[in-house]
């Protein structure tokens, strides 16, 4: 029995040789770039490679490396210097990448509110940080529970992510050698489809220590004698191993559509098998094992092999292994067709080397980007196909150049990803592009009119400058861009830290200006926000026009409901009483509704006080109209005939030094001239600018910059926009390493 059901890839992040992010990776793929690093003798010597080793004719002075494996933003994740230094770079880099992938998906906050599972895999023991520094680490505590163990054992890779990112679904490490990524995907998919989790993180981190060293190709016949991986080629001579890390964020497709997520591609199905014992040896591959994995996957997807226009192969570039893999895949095709040349194949190992446990995710992200852009990209170094496989009579052709990916009969483009592991576990996944009607549905819809509130934050001033700069460059570079989507994504889906820039923007130019200014700001980091007290001291009756503005505004549902409720209750009041006057009734309903709307947006006060009519308001906050308090208010209003705020009582009820005040109207005695500003205090209404939904944005900006929070889900409960992929947090690059 197989489980069907599509998944949506809603976020991704990667660090591969030659590419610190997915955009750079895609550019390299389109350019047909091989991201190999040639090492000098000095570099090799510095890495500890002996003269004798370097001088061997079989020594290959090449590696596939990623940048800055010794750098980490420990402070961001609340990790001490000592712990960071002891921690495997595979764990550290995966923390940053997983956070980036969740930001890319717009799910940093949401992932914590639902069961989110983590399925993660790490590189081998013998190329690990622990192995390299074993003597040093062994001198200190290294038993169960030690920093050495928790920072380096594979048991803690997924659980570290779950702890630091507050993810409460199952968190487990997955290890099946080179097929680990696909198997992690398979387990994550299964957990989503049975409903154990609502979101899945599939992560892989294979970082070799030391990284910048070559290898002796004579040590193992599967190693390339010159550093190049020539998958499917007749002159294939072996593979080269490298470092890389990547993360995918997945949801059930129906949930992604419901939540208006940006979907990069679909996962139609996955399957995993093991070869069992029917093969020549433990490390050998098996045609039946591989073929069955593909057969299960396409069956589960409900498609035919001929629906796959492209298969990303395991493609290690070994002379014997490549034809066997193709023969296995061909067996599945030949059950249903004798057609030739109907399916493109490729191997990202020709670009990146073999990333072992991360190899499958490299393949998955390559195919995701191909489907997203509807482009085929070349597999390198295959001028002539391996003669041990009859390409001419097969369904397969090696993709040789970057070109648009033609659709077959207008059907959605689909691809397969094949992954094999030493030890015999095989994985296969079927992916598809997002159908055109889903892309169009999401693209449609009117832009929510501005102005828009936006708040970007970071852990430090330095990081905020970098973050704002990154965002400014991105916004400036976009041709098809909506300000409402940008603000919605940043406000709703990014974490909120203490150091902030915030503002009200009307259009793209405003937004770029705000971000550029923030990227150069030298403002000091704000102190911690004090509790806020609200002083309700309306200086005049609420104008009918002002009420109408609020009632009509799409973000003011709470105002409308409360105003109508309170105003309607007033029908019970004796019309001859002073408190029954239309302006009194309207003003009281207005002030209570205004407070309700602020509360719906998450603006919370430790206390509400007031003067004049405002004192009555403060007594009625949170009370239903049926409460005796409302009946009592009538008598109080009758007594308080003066509805204008008592100037001298402007600071009534505000504790000194322990709270900030938010005034309904700025007390006249506190106006300093020029810009209205009362140090440490805020106001909802400014002279010459009656309170309005638009005017409140200025107050909300001050509220945010002061370090206080909004309930963004409540703010966007009406008139939401769309989550869009945006640049991710610029982690600092501080060095943590066990130096000799």
């Amino acid at each position: 029995m197989t489980l069907g059901g599509d998944l949506a890839i809603i976020g991704l992040a990667c660090r591969f040789p030659g590419a610190d992010d997915a955009e750079a990776f895609w550019a390299n793929l389109c350019a047909g770039r091989e991201s190999i690093t040639w090492l000098t003798d000095d570099e090799l010597a510095a890495a500890g490679v002996t003269d004798e080793m370097r001088s061997r004719p079989t020594y290959v002075k090449a590696a596939y490396t990623i940048s800055d494996i010794d750098r980490f933003d420990a402070r961001f994740f609340g990790i001490s210097e000592d712990e960071a230094r002891m921690m495997d770079p595979q764990q550290r880099i995966l923390l940053e990448l997983t956070y980036a992938a969740l930001e890319h998906a717009g799910q940093v906050v949401t992932a914590q509110r639902r069961p989110t599972g983590v399925f993660a895999t790490a590189g081998g023991v013998t190329t690990s940080y622990l192995y390299h520094h074993a003597a040093r680490l062994a001198r200190g505590p290294h038993g169960t529970g030690s920093l050495a163990q928790i920072g380096n054992d594979k048991d803690f890779l997924a659980t570290r992510l779950a702890f630091k990112l507050n993810l409460t679904g199952i968190a487990t490490s997955v290890q099946t050698a080179c097929s680990s990524s696909l198997v992690a995907l398979h387990l994550g998919r299964t957990a989503l489809l049975v409903g154990d989790i609502d979101m899945a993180i599939v992560a892989a981190s294979c970082i070799r220590v030391p990284q910048r060293v070559g290898y002796d190709s004579a040590e193992n016949p599967i190693l390339s004698p010159d550093g190049h991986c020539r998958a499917f080629a007749d002159d294939a001579k072996g593979t080269t191993f490298g470092s890389g890390a990547a993360v995918l964020v997945l949801k059930r497709r129906a949930d992604a559509v419901r939540d208006r997520d940006h979907v990069h591609a679909l996962i139609k199905s996955t399957a995993a098998t093991n070869d069992g014992g029917a093969k020549i040896g433990f490390t050998a591959s098996s045609v039946p094992g591989q073929a069955k994995a593909m057969a299960h996957a396409i069956t589960s997807a409900g498609v035919s092999a001929t629906d796959l226009g492209y298969v990303e192969c395991h493609g290690t570039g070994t002379r014997i292994g490549d034809p066997l893999e193709l023969k296995a895949l061909e067996r599945v095709y030949r059950l249903e067709t004798d057609a030739t040349g109907i399916c493109g194949i490729g191997s990202v190992k020709t670009n990146l080397g073999h990333l072992e446990q991360a190899a499958g995710l490299a393949s998955l992200i390559k195919v995701t980007l191909m489907l997203k852009h509807r482009m085929l990209v070349p597999s390198l170094h295959c001028a002539r196909g391996n003669t041990a496989f009859n390409f001419a009579q097969s369904p397969f052709t090696v993709v040789q150049s970057t070109a648009p990916w033609p659709s077959t009969d207008g059907r959605d483009r689909m691809a397969g990803v094949n992954s094999l592991g030493i030890g015999g576990t095989n994985g296969f996944a079927v992916l598809a592009e997002v159908p055109i009607e889903q892309r169009e549905d999401r693209a449609g819809g009117l832009e929510v009119p501005g102005p828009h509130l936006v708040c970007l934050s970071a852990k430090s001033s330095d990081r905020l400058r970098a973050y704002a700069g990154r965002m400014a460059a991105f916004v400036d570079d976009q041709s098809d861009f909506r300000v409402d989507d940008f603000c919605y994504t940043v406000n709703l889906s990014r974490s909120h830290h203490r150091v902030r820039c915030a503002g009200v923007v009307r259009d793209r130019d405003d937004l770029v200006g705000l971000l550029r200014a923030a990227s150069q700001s030298t403002s000091p980091e704000p102190p911690s926000a004090k509790p806020a007290v609200y002083v309700c001291n309306p200086s005049s009756s609420a104008a009918v026009e002002t009420v109408d503005l609020f009632r009509a505004h799409p973000r003011c549902d709470a105002f409308r409901n409360r105003f109508d409720e309170v105003h309607a209750w007033w029908d019970h009041v004796d019309p001859t009483r002073p408190s029954a006057a239309g302006d009194v009734r309207r003003t009281l309903a207005f002030e209570l509704a205004l407070l309700d709307q602020l509360a719906a947006w998450g603006v919370r006060f430790v206390n509400v006080t007031g003067v004049g009519l405002g004192a009555v308001v403060s007594q009625l906050v949170g009370k239903s109209v049926g409460d005796q308090g409302h009946a009592d208010a009538i008598a109080a209003i009758d007594r308080a005939v003066a509805l204008v705020a008592d100037e001298t009582a402007g600071d009534a009820g505000v504790p000194q030094g322990t709270a900030s005040a938010v005034y309904r109207v700025l007390p006249a005695s506190s106006v300093t001239g020029g810009d209205v500003n009362v140090a440490g205090h805020m106001t909802l209404e400014r002279p010459g600018a009656p309170v309005s939904p638009i005017g409140l944005l200025g107050f909300l900006t001050e509220w945010l910059i002061s370090g206080r929070e909004l309930e963004w889900t409540g703010y966007y409960s009406t008139a939401p926009a769309r989550i869009i992929p945006l640049p991710t947090y610029p982690f600092s690059r501080d060095r943590y390493w066990l130096d000799e």
């Binding site: 098996s286 069955k292 023969k327």
Partner: protein, 115 residues
């Protein structure tokens, strides 16, 4: 080179002799080799096995691993003998267990659940 029609016993004898010869050159002890002996029990490296196959190709004048048989599917002496016999006297019956298994998997498509 082996002359005459294919004979299971003679193929087995050649295979046993070749494997024993390689073990002797590696100074491995004498062990009983029969059809049920797994190749992994023989203590030979992959290079040794490649050498054995190369020799047997010369003896039988056929190379079953060029197209028909995946080398990785050979687990024991019996399957090695079967590989040469399949080339020496093809029966026309592919008897392909793998195809049957794959068709059975593909036939499950009607049972795929769509949550």
């Amino acid at each position: 080179m082996l002359k005459g029609g294919p004979d299971r016993e003679s193929v087995l004898a050649q295979v046993r002799a070749e494997l024993a010869s390689i073990r002797a050159r590696r100074h491995a002890g004498v062990i009983e080799i029969d059809e049920s002996t797994r190749l992994s029990e023989l203590g030979l490296t992959s290079l040794d096995l490649a050498e054995a196959i190369s020799s047997l190709e010369s003896v039988f004048d056929v190379d079953p691993f060029a197209e028909a048989v995946a080398i990785t599917s050979i687990t024991d002496v019996r399957s090695l003998c079967d590989a040469y016999l399949s080339c020496l006297s093809p029966s026309g019956d592919t008897g392909d267990d793998l195809d049957r298994e794959l068709r059975a998997i593909r036939a499950q498509r009607g049972n795929t659940e769509q949550p």
